[in-house]
Amino acid sequence: MKLSDMTDSGVWLSFKRGDKKAVSFIYREYYPVLLRYGLKFTHHSSLVEDTIQDLFAELIKNHKTVGDTDNILFYLLKSFRRKLFRKLEKAHRYDLTDVMTDDHPFEVVWSVEQDIIGNEENEHRSAMLLKALGTLTSRQKEAVYLRFTKELDYAVIAEIMNISIEACRNLISNAVSSMRRGVKRKD
């Protein structure tokens, strides 16, 4: 059976058995996801790439003892986020010019920005929406990103962001309400 036809649990099991093909497969599948996610927190691309390499090196080293998962994306995003934050904080300890706060920035290029160019009909509506998007907090943006770009469930997003499911729902719901107000405001 080809790896691409297998379920997440199956791929993960092959990986735990030490199958090198499974390592390459997981890497190929999830490297872009992790890289794009990481680059939303920082522009320091080598730091993000290093974090991914560390994550995989660690997984391979501990392949016999890592836990089971039926959602590899979730598993990787969660460990990656934790590692990246640790690395970012360490990097910022030596860089006093850019003081790190608890609120890591999260920068996203939204698809609505493409609408602004060349689609007159929607131009106004898109501009309003974009303005509303500008008012979102970093945490809201991250939750919205995980929800609508990565299509994850509320429970999974909550786990990745280390918050409660209610808090996660509220983050997204508040963000959507701001968006809706942005769209409605027709002047």
């Binding site: 794009r36 995989f56 290029v109 609505v112 309400s177």
Partner: protein, 392 residues
């Protein structure tokens, strides 16, 4: 899914609903049926639905493509680097490409579901057949053995294949709007087709094109699976649509080339001159307008349309009997060559996937073409059992 629950939903609630989000972001027949039925039953919810669809689509991130070479996990051991030859810029091809825009589309076309567009068309898969075929509106099938087949459809209804008349000129004036002909070209062959409006289409290997015998509607629609190069005759009153499984393209008049293979990961369109609009082939599809030199890619995995700038010569060269290639993994090139020559290329052993830059002459036999690539990619080509085996 329970439609009762949705009757009282607000825009926000639709946006936050799991099933609704999945429907907007993933193409799935079952949920498509559910939501279309819901909309029919509750037309008063249309505004909320459209707004929710708009918000969800707007809230997606636009993400840059990640270079292929980064996707290989580097176990800590030696690496073999691909050697690249210098860039070959061909003035001639640049000129040829000036009035060409290219659309590369993936996927077999099973049905087309946009409201505005007509009935679904099922395309025949004839990629592995020996001969090319044309299926006439009445269901009769004609086969042709020629490697390069010339098909001409005139406005009076006359249809010829390699100058042999298949359908004579119609005397009656009644024109059946839905009369479609289907041209099926297997791997290893090509065809050049002229439509009733003068539009010319070069159909590449392993492709199927369905077109109307007459253009009587207020739009001209052709359906494609595989790859084709179009020179569309300008007619502002009747826009021309190229429709594939996952993308539709609207043109008023220009020359272009379309490719649609279901074993490719993406669907893409490259524009050289004029403007085109591309959109996902589904309800409320947002369209992306292209300027010359731009490409729109539909990633089937991520299900998003993205736009970037490309060297158009790389996408149009096949029409002139060449493949211009710039830093492409050899496995991708093998895929194209397999289709073009209808011969099997088996990668037996490659330590790394070399990349190739250069110009391949498709008039050469496959062995010569492969040796050309092997020379710069430092691998060996062995001809065995009518197959070509690639070894380190």
């Amino acid at each position: 899914m329970n439609s009762e629950k949705y009757v009282a939903f607000t825009t926000e609630e639709f946006v936050l609903d799991d099933d609704f989000m999945r429907w907007v972001l993933q193409t799935d027949e079952e949920s498509d049926r559910f939501w279309k039925a819901f909309l029919l039953q509750h037309p008063e919810k249309r505004e909320e639905l459209e707004e929710a669809v708009y918000i969800i689509r707007s809230l997606r991130a636009v993400e840059p493509p990640v270079p292929l070479q980064k996707l290989k996990y580097r176990h800590p051991k030696k690496q073999i680097t691909a050697s690249n030859r210098g860039k070959i810029g061909t003035q001639l091809l640049k000129i040829a490409a000036m009035f060409v825009f290219i659309v590369t589309l993936g996927g077999l076309l099973y049905y087309y579901q946009h409201q505005q567009i007509g009935s679904p068309v099922e395309l025949t898969d004839g990629r592995y057949s020996e001969n090319g075929r044309i299926i006439l509106p009445d269901g009769t099938i004609s086969e042709f053995e020629s490697k390069e087949t010339v098909i001409q459809q005139t406005a009076s209804g006359n249809l010829t294949v390699n100058n042999d008349t298949l359908l004579p000129k119609e005397r009656k004036t009644t024109k059946d709007e839905s009369a479609m002909a289907q041209v099926i070209i297997p791997y290893g062959k090509r065809s050049e087709i002229t439509l009733a409006d003068g539009t010319r289409i070069w159909l590449n290997a392993g492709s199927t094109l369905s077109y109307p015998i007459h253009f009587t509607k207020n739009r001209r629609e052709v359906y494609l699976s595989g790859e084709a190069f179009f020179e569309v005759t300008s007619d502002d009153a009747k826009p021309f649509y190229v429709i594939t499984n996952d993308m539709k393209i609207r043109v008023t008049g220009t020359r272009f080339n379309v490719t649609s293979y279901n074993n490719d990961a993406v669907t893409q369109a490259v524009l050289v001159e004029g403007t085109i609009e591309a959109s996902k082939n589904r309800l409320f599809g947002r369209s992306v307008e292209l300027s010359p030199g731009e490409r729109v890619v539909y990633d089937r995995e991520e299900k998003i349309l993205q736009k970037d700038k490309v060297d158009v010569a790389l996408y149009s060269s096949w029409v002139n009997g060449y493949l211009i290639i710039e830093n492409e993994p050899v496995e991708e090139i093998f895929k194209k060559l397999e289709r073009y020559y209808n011969q099997q290329i088996v990668v037996e052993e490659l330590n790394d996937i070399p990349r190739f830059t250069g110009k391949l002459n498709l008039a050469d036999d496959l062995e010569k073409v492969l040796r050309n690539i092997a020379f710069s990619g430092s691998f060996r080509v062995v001809n065995e059992d009518k197959r070509y085996i690639i070894q380190q």
